[in-house]
């Protein structure tokens, strides 16, 4: 049983954070809002890009998620800018 989550950063945020993915330990569970708080606490680009009012989206297990969405060990959480495809 995994006790980690996988973070995926895409497009501009991948470049800003200097990583395409990382693994984060997670004991118990958290929420999207809780995870974002943890990441912002790192300061630097994380604090800037994930600040309230910045345009970004979160997907949990490849489904777009709101701030209350529960996150448990084993989940894949992606953070990315608004999409611009097609």
């Amino acid at each position: 049983m995994s006790s980690h989550i996988t973070l995926v950063y895409l497009a501009r945020l991948r470049e800003r954070f200097g990583a395409a993915r990382e693994t984060l330990p997670l004991a118990g569970e958290t929420t999207v809002a809780g995870l974002l708080e943890t990441l912002r606490a790192r300061g630097g680009e994380f604090a800037v890009e994930l600040a309230a009012g910045r345009a970004f989206r979160v997907a949990v297990n490849q489904e777009v998620a709101g701030p209350e969405q529960r996150i448990v060990a084993g989940d894949e959480v992606a953070i990315f800018p608004p999409v611009t495809g097609g």
Binding site: L10, A11, A59, Q62, A78, F80, P82, T84
Partner: protein, 154 residues
């Protein structure tokens, strides 16, 4: 309800022929091709890189196709989206819908494109004379997709 995400180009004529092949109930084939332009927001664009979120992309496109199928009386849909390096004049996306009648096919095709632009995880990075830049989301794309949510009459 085929969905394909690929770096390779696609043959529009062959894809449309295959989509309707063998189904003599098809009276209408609506399609849309998106192409790379050499200008955007007033700047010359020499090329672009299209990034996506593998796995989620396919899931979102399949959901969009299923929604179109649920909303309109259509037979089949095809969504092909390219990723990777692209240059002006290249084809980016093909959306095609078959139906007995044109109104359903055209509406479903437009619906799929509007949702694809706002929901599918693709990001464009353009090369301009000033360097590389990520394209910002267009407010008009959100507005186009929101039309459908509001159940706007056509």
């Amino acid at each position: 309800m085929a969905v394909r995400v690929q770096t390779a180009d696609f043959d529009v004529g062959a894809e449309l022929a295959a989509l309707r092949s063998g189904n003599p109930a098809v009276g209408a084939v609506a399609s849309f091709i998106g192409c790379v332009r050499d200008m955007n927001e007033g700047d010359r664009v020499g090329g672009m890189f299209l990034e996506h979120y593998p796995g989620m992309t396919e899931r979102e496109l399949e959901k969009i196709a299923a929604e179109a199928k649920a909303r309109w009386d259509i037979f089949d849909t095809l969504i092909i989206h390219r990723v990777g390096e692209l240059k002006p004049l290249d084809q980016i996306v093909l959306v095609a819908v078959t139906s007995a009648h044109r109104g359903e096919a055209l509406a479903a095709c437009e619906f799929i494109m509007d949702y694809l632009k706002t929901r599918a995880p693709f990001w464009k990075r353009e090369s301009t004379p000033e360097g590389e830049r990520w394209v910002d989301a267009r407010v008009s794309d959100d507005a186009a997709a929101a039309r459908w949510d509001a159940g706007a009459a056509r």
